[in-house]
Symmetry: C2
Subunit: 468 residues, 2 copies
């Protein structure tokens, strides 16, 4: 029904009526009229601004279907708070009516005890679905799947498909596409809504169905779905079990969420932080410090080895203090080179451009790149010391040998940085960790310690008999 | 039409017939029959594997609509090669029939001269559209927009809408949703295909239209679209000009592409590499070395200041070589702290969680975090030197003062790292650069030079009269 008070020409910057004022006035009729024409996202946004008590009242007043739709658009943290504050029967109603994929996303965030309590509120049928979806490994496509889609048979006519859609399409996550299955329940094709609407009503599904969509597997990692959606350019993709039977679909809006969350985690891990899991401005400072302290302390212990390595060469430094001057320049160049390699390989792994089997080809590329970049920096380093020595005595009488030492050490260290930075993501992935954990600071620490050893060994060889 | 040779029960691991064999046998009928049932992505994948000559033949043999659809799914590099090899009239045909958003994506990658040549092949109407879309700034929503969508009026019945869809829906990018416009062409709501199919045919658009979708603006940056799609959870969003008039739509599949490309660029920039713009395994080694050498050399010149800073303190190092031992440990801790802050702030800026106006709140958080983390590392550093000094004489008689120096310097440097790492992205964004360019190596270099100065100043104060 169109609300009587609906403006005939809403302004362009659409400003929602204030939900809090309506609730305080207990304007039930106004509320129902207003929310009926809003998108679920707009209702959710208005509810999110309310206090928890008002949120509970709002959900009691809202029409059932509007309430459930809006609930799905709330952030998981707000959903949690609401469930705690709502009466049991309201919780049960919303959970039973939520779409299965959004429910999984909520349940997997809760502590195990809370999840169990909520599962008990579900109808036997919905509980079976929820438990099944939670049974897939974390980060797998199964967790993002919904069993709400429309299946048709090859011999059906478009008329029958349309009729079927009208009767069974209410709960489907998408109506953009219906799936054609064979007698074993395996997907053999799909028909888009465009063809259904535009084809002659007597055309059969077999005549217009599209082939060639490779289904996703429920146990495959989420990243596979991102790549598949980019390749196929569709709004939904079918998901099968290991026997190839169609068991659900994944929709592209969930995949966009997965992609953005994965990118956030990768960026934070690569920066050397445990993933925050909360927006930067909202996370409590103590929690953030704890998430940062972990890696920072681990790296600090690793970096302590540089002090140990330096103390091994204390005699050399005493004899030739000039060597100490270049320590920061040398080790940071190795770290920078390693950071470049790591970021390129981590992203290539995440996009599926390279896999574990490609490690040897990657290493070969990095050897060439590392030597080239090392020669460039080494030449600049040599030239800098040689150049200054024409006008000053800062680097002493043996400036040529010092310049040679720095130049050669740079070649070795930049190469070593490229190798370490490109190998570490592979090693971590092979061991079952996130490749993005080979963070810039991690690689830098790794390269710092070995870089010092390379530098002082080169110095010992070149400067032996003169400075050392 | 269903192909006569279509298997009644395709295998689950769908294996496409070999297109190259069909082409070599000039099996036109077979080809047309086979591709008719494939998805455009599958046709494109099969074509991509062919030689350029065979690709041209394939495009001549393919039915027109199949050819255009498949062309849109080819990577831009392959599209370019094909356009060069195809006859002028084939090029014109494909370009005229391509959807406007995919065409923009191709044209913006080409050199200006090539773009102009191709524009000349377009019909006056298509050329006007193409020029208009290319007129929006790079990286803006206008560039990802298509003018192919369905508009309806509030007073229309569902029956009329369905009829309109059947007649005008062929070229629309999506049929999931139609847009309701007022007499000025401004969007006032939308109706989903679900409601169109399920509502009574005599219901009017005004009765079922949904309000509350805030339109995107053509001149806004692409990142705005990513956030809006995540918030709204829709398959397409309307785009308006500055007067609020509906001028196109953006679909979620393009936004997924935008999001993934943006994440790749951010990861590479943060690692200190110019963005590759090509997959890691495909880019020519010389091009990759050039893309990496740029930043590496700039950072190397910056890092040279550490040698200058160190030479200022050469006398101090000569007198107390023990100070040199902790240089790598100290400066890397500052770099690690800065890398953490930068990665958190860069991602928060990219997600729109913080904006330029929040810089002061961010800095305040980072001061607290930096001091806390500095105290943790400082305490560990102090304890380590104190502990070793119980069993060895490595750090000399004044070990307590040395430990104090290292501990205090760590507090200052970790704090300085957090401040530099969190401010730099804001500064870059303010100056119109990509905040992600405040890479881990960039921040580390910034912190290294100032960190050395902090360290030696603290040493000068604490050790004056004893070691110095």
């Amino acid at each position: 029904m169109a609300p009587p008070d609906r403006p005939s020409e809403p302004s362009v910057g659409w400003a929602p009526p204030r939900l809090d004022e309506i609730i305080r006035g207990r304007g039930v009729t106004a509320l129902r009229v207003v929310v009926r024409v809003w998108t679920p996202a707009a209702v959710a946004a208005a509810i999110e601004d309310l206090s928890v008590d008002d949120q509970v009242i709002a959900f009691r007043l809202l029409p059932r279907d509007v309430a459930t739709d809006a609930f799905e658009y709330l952030p998981v943290g707000v959903q949690e708070g609401l469930l705690r504050a709502m009466a049991k029967e309201d919780v049960g109603r919303i959970l039973n009516e939520m779409s299965a994929d959004d429910r999984t996303m909520l349940l997997e965030e809760l502590p195990a005890a809370a999840t169990q309590q909520l599962l008990n509120l579900l109808s036997p049928e919905e509980r079976a679905t929820a438990v099944k979806l939670l049974g897939y490994p974390e980060g797998s496509i199964g967790r993002r799947m919904t069993p709400d889609y429309v299946r048709v048979r090859p011999e059906w006519t478009m008329e029958r498909v349309l009729d079927h859609l009208r009767r069974h399409g209410h709960d489907s996550e998408t109506l953009s596409v219906v799936y054609v299955i064979d007698e074993h329940g395996r997907p053999v094709g799909e028909v888009g809504i465009r063809k259904i609407l535009l084809a002659d009503p007597s055309t059969t599904v077999a005549e217009v169905a599209t082939e060639g969509v490779t289904p996703l597997r429920a146990t495959d990692p989420e990243e596979t779905a991102i790549a598949a959606f980019r390749r196929e350019g569709r709004e939904a993709l079918p998901v099968t079990d290991s026997a190839g039977v169609l068991i659900g679909i994944v929709t592209i809006d969930d995949v966009l969420d997965v992609a953005q969350t994965a990118a956030t985690e990768a960026q934070q891990r690569f920066g050397g932080v445990e993933t925050l899991d909360e927006p930067y401005m909202e996370i409590a400072l103590t929690r953030m410090v704890r998430k940062r302290a972990g890696w920072l302390v681990v790296l600090f212990f690793g970096e302590m080895l540089t002090a140990t390595a330096m103390s091994f060469f204390e005699k050399e430094i005493e004899r030739a203090v000039v060597l100490a001057l270049f320590v920061p320049l040398i080790i940071s160049s190795g770290g920078n080179s390693g950071s470049q390699s790591a970021s390129l390989v981590i992203r290539a792994l995440a996009l599926g451009e390279v896999g574990l089997r490609d490690w040897w080809r990657v290493i070969r590329r990095e050897v060439v790149a590392g030597v080239s970049l090392g020669l460039i920096l080494g030449t600049i380093g040599f030239a800098r010391i040689a150049g200054w020595s024409l006008f000053s005595t800062l680097y002493g009488a043996h400036w040529f040998l010092v310049a040679m030492t720095v130049g050669l050490a740079l070649v070795g260290i930049v190469l070593w940085g490229a190798l370490a930075g490109s190998s570490l993501p592979f090693v971590l992935q092979r061991l079952g960790f996130d490749p993005a954990s080979s963070s810039a600071p991690f690689v830098a620490t790794l390269v710092d310690v070995t870089g010092l050893i390379i530098y002082f060994l080169v110095a010992a060889i070149i400067l032996s008999g003169t400075l050392l």
